[in-house]
Structure formats: structure tokens, C-alpha cells
């Protein structure tokens, strides 16, 4: 039944990011009172962000995790070590900083493939 229903999108971001995506209809609080979003503000501890991200990664009902790039920088070690196709972790531009492709984990891995030797 869950396969036909599809998987959820989770979001980790500031209040505007979470509010916006929740307006789009992705928000859900399951029977165990677990939300699929985390609102991060200046008082949110890094350990809390790490714990929530790990929780989202371990949940079977989440297919994509959207995380603001500025927050992704804080938990870069978790994102870089995540190799599974599902859930897919997607870094999205934050409100305060423009999108920086040099920080994106996926594009950095792809960029690291090519060296001057390969094109000789």
C-alpha cells in the first residue's frame, strides 16, 4: 500500500523554507507523531540537525530529503557518507545565500572524476 502511495519528501530548512514546502503539501506527521520536516533557527543545535537527518535517512517512507545548502554545510560529513539511492539528499538554495555548485556534494563528486590526465 505504501509503495502505491509513494514516498514522502522531507525538508530541513529555515522557517520560510519549511512553510513554503508545507504549503505545497509535502508535510506529514505520522502516527508516531514524527514530522517529516525540521525548522532550523539560530538556536538549533548541530547535534539536533544531525539526529534529525539520520532519522530521515533511516525512515523507509521518505524518498527525498530537501536540505538548505547552508545547513548542509554543517552536516556535510553525513551527506558525503550517504551513498544509498533512496532517500536521495538534495541540497537546495537557502534564502540567505545563493546556490553554490562548488559546495554541492553530488557535483563535487562528479567534478573530482576528471583530471588533466584523462584528457591527454
Amino acid at each position: 500500500m505504501s509503495a502505491s502511495r509513494g514516498k514522502l519528501l522531507a525538508v530541513i530548512g529555515d522557517e520560510d523554507t519549511c512553510t513554503g514546502f508545507l504549503l505545497g503539501g509535502i508535510g506529514e506527521i505520522n502516527k508516531s507523531r514524527q514530522p517529516n520536516f525540521l525548522v532550523v533557527d539560530k538556536d538549533t543545535a548541530t547535534a539536533d540537525i544531525e539526529e534529525q537527518l539520520n532519522q530521515f535517512i533511516s525512515r523507509k517512507d521518505i524518498g527525498i530529503i530537501l536540505i538548505s545548502q547552508s545547513i548542509a554545510d554543517v552536516v556535510r560529513h553525513i551527506i558525503d557518507s550517504h551513498k544509498e539511492p533512496i532517500p536521495s539528499i538534495l541540497e537546495i538554495p537557502s534564502k540567505d545565500a545563493p546556490y553554490d555548485p562548488s559546495k554541492d556534494s553530488v557535483l563535487r563528486r562528479a567534478k573530482g572524476m576528471f583530471s588533466a590526465e584523462d584528457f591527454r
Binding site: L8, L9, E15, L23, G63, I64, I92, K95, L107
Partner: protein
């Protein structure tokens, strides 16, 4: 023979390399459009906040019983993500039907009119077009729509912000599909590259000469 195999591998490697670079360009373009969508969405949210009040549009007003209407369908075989929007269940209380549906019967219209008369003084009779437009607008908003967490009379900017973020969700699913393809191509490139380097190393190794 060995040369042919080597050339074939090189050719394959070139093709995979070109496909990889195209995918990277596509992902970069999609991320730029995602950034634009989000930027518009943030701006519209700020406008809405100015209308309804700073505290009104905050996490305090999130529903404690929210249910997702937007999901993603994951195809592990192809590595693709499809954005699906599940239509909400039909409301238990009757709402005005859209102009595209069959018109209500005379009796239903009469009941609807009588119910309206119980409320404060009715507005002057609208023209048919305006009535149709207002009915269509009401029918598009379901009672379980998250937009209603923040109130009933909401500014148009908030509706537009919702559309921006819905579009951003769709683009995000497309980006995830492209990233999965990129990972698969990367793995293929690495395997071809390692087999190509090992075969060229074998070809370059000096031939062993035995003397009797």
C-alpha cells in the same frame, strides 16, 4: 585484435564522458531554475507576511495532524523520481461545484440558496460569469489544504507562493532523477576507465622472451 578492443573501449569511454558532462550541465540548469522558483516563493511569503502579520505565517500555525498530499514515486530500477500529487479525499460537507462539472439540479440550487439566506444580508445578484468564477475558485481549495492553517481570508501572494513551492517540489524530483543517472554514469565511467587502463598497461608490458 587487442587494438580494436582498446579503440572500442576508448570510444565507449568518450561517449560516457560526453553523457556525464551533459548530465552535469542539465543538473546545473535545473538547480538554477529551482533557485529562481524558491527566490520568488520567499519574496511572495515576505509579501504575505506583511499582509497577514509576522506571527501569523509561522510554524506556530502548522497543523498537528497534517497529511501529505504531495508524494514522490521512486523507481529503484530506473533510478527515477516522479512527483505525484494525490488528490485530497472528497470533503464530507458539500462545497460548490466547479463550472466544468454538470450543473446542480434545481432542487440543490434551491437548498443552496436557502442556506445562503440564513447568513448576513445576501449580496446583490451576481452575473452568471462572476458566480461561475467564484464557484470555481472555492472548489479549487480543499478544506484540508495547508494554506488554511494560516487563516481563511488570505492574500493572493500566499496562493502564488504556494504555486512557486509546488513547482520547486516538481523540479526537485527531476533533479534527483538526473543525479541518480549521474551516479550510474559515474560508476560506468570508473569501471570502463579502470579496464581501459589495465588493458593498455598489459599491452605496454614487454613481451617475455624464452630461449631454449
Amino acid at each position: 585484435m587487442a587494438n580494436d578492443n582498446g579503440e572500442q573501449q576508448e570510444h565507449q569511454l568518450d561517449e560516457v564522458c560526453i553523457a556525464l558532462l551533459k548530465l552535469i550541465a542539465q543538473i546545473d540548469a535545473k538547480k538554477r531554475s529551482l533557485e529562481e522558483c524558491l527566490r520568488d516563493g520567499y519574496y511572495l511569503l515576505a509579501q504575505s507576511r506583511k499582509s497577514v502579520g509576522k506571527e501569523r505565517l509561522s510554524s506556530t500555525y502548522y497543523s498537528p495532524q497534517m497529511k501529505a498530499s504531495t508524494m514522490v514515486k521512486c523507481n529503484t530500477k530506473e533510478g527515477s523520481f516522479a512527483h505525484i500529487c494525490r488528490p485530497p479525499p472528497p470533503p464530507t460537507t458539500p462545497v460548490a461545484t466547479s463550472s466544468e462539472q454538470e450543473p446542480a439540479t434545481t432542487e440543490e440550487q434551491g437548498v443552496h440558496r436557502r442556506k445562503k439566506q440564513q447568513n448576513p444580508p445576501p449580496a446583490p445578484a451576481k452575473k452568471e460569469d462572476e458566480k461561475t468564477t467564484s464557484m470555481t475558485t472555492r472548489s479549487k481549495l480543499h478544506p484540508d489544504d495547508p494554506i488554511f492553517w494560516f487563516g481563511i481570508l488570505l492574500p493572493q501572494s500566499l496562493h502564488k507562493a504556494k504555486e512557486c513551492f509546488s513547482q520547486a517540489t516538481s523540479i526537485s524530483c527531476e533533479i534527483c532523477s538526473l543525479e541518480r543517472m549521474l551516479e550510474r554514469k559515474r560508476a560506468l565511467y570508473n569501471s570502463l576507465s579502470s579496464s581501459s587502463s589495465s588493458s593498455s598497461a598489459a599491452a605496454a608490458a614487454p613481451a617475455v622472451v624464452t630461449t631454449s
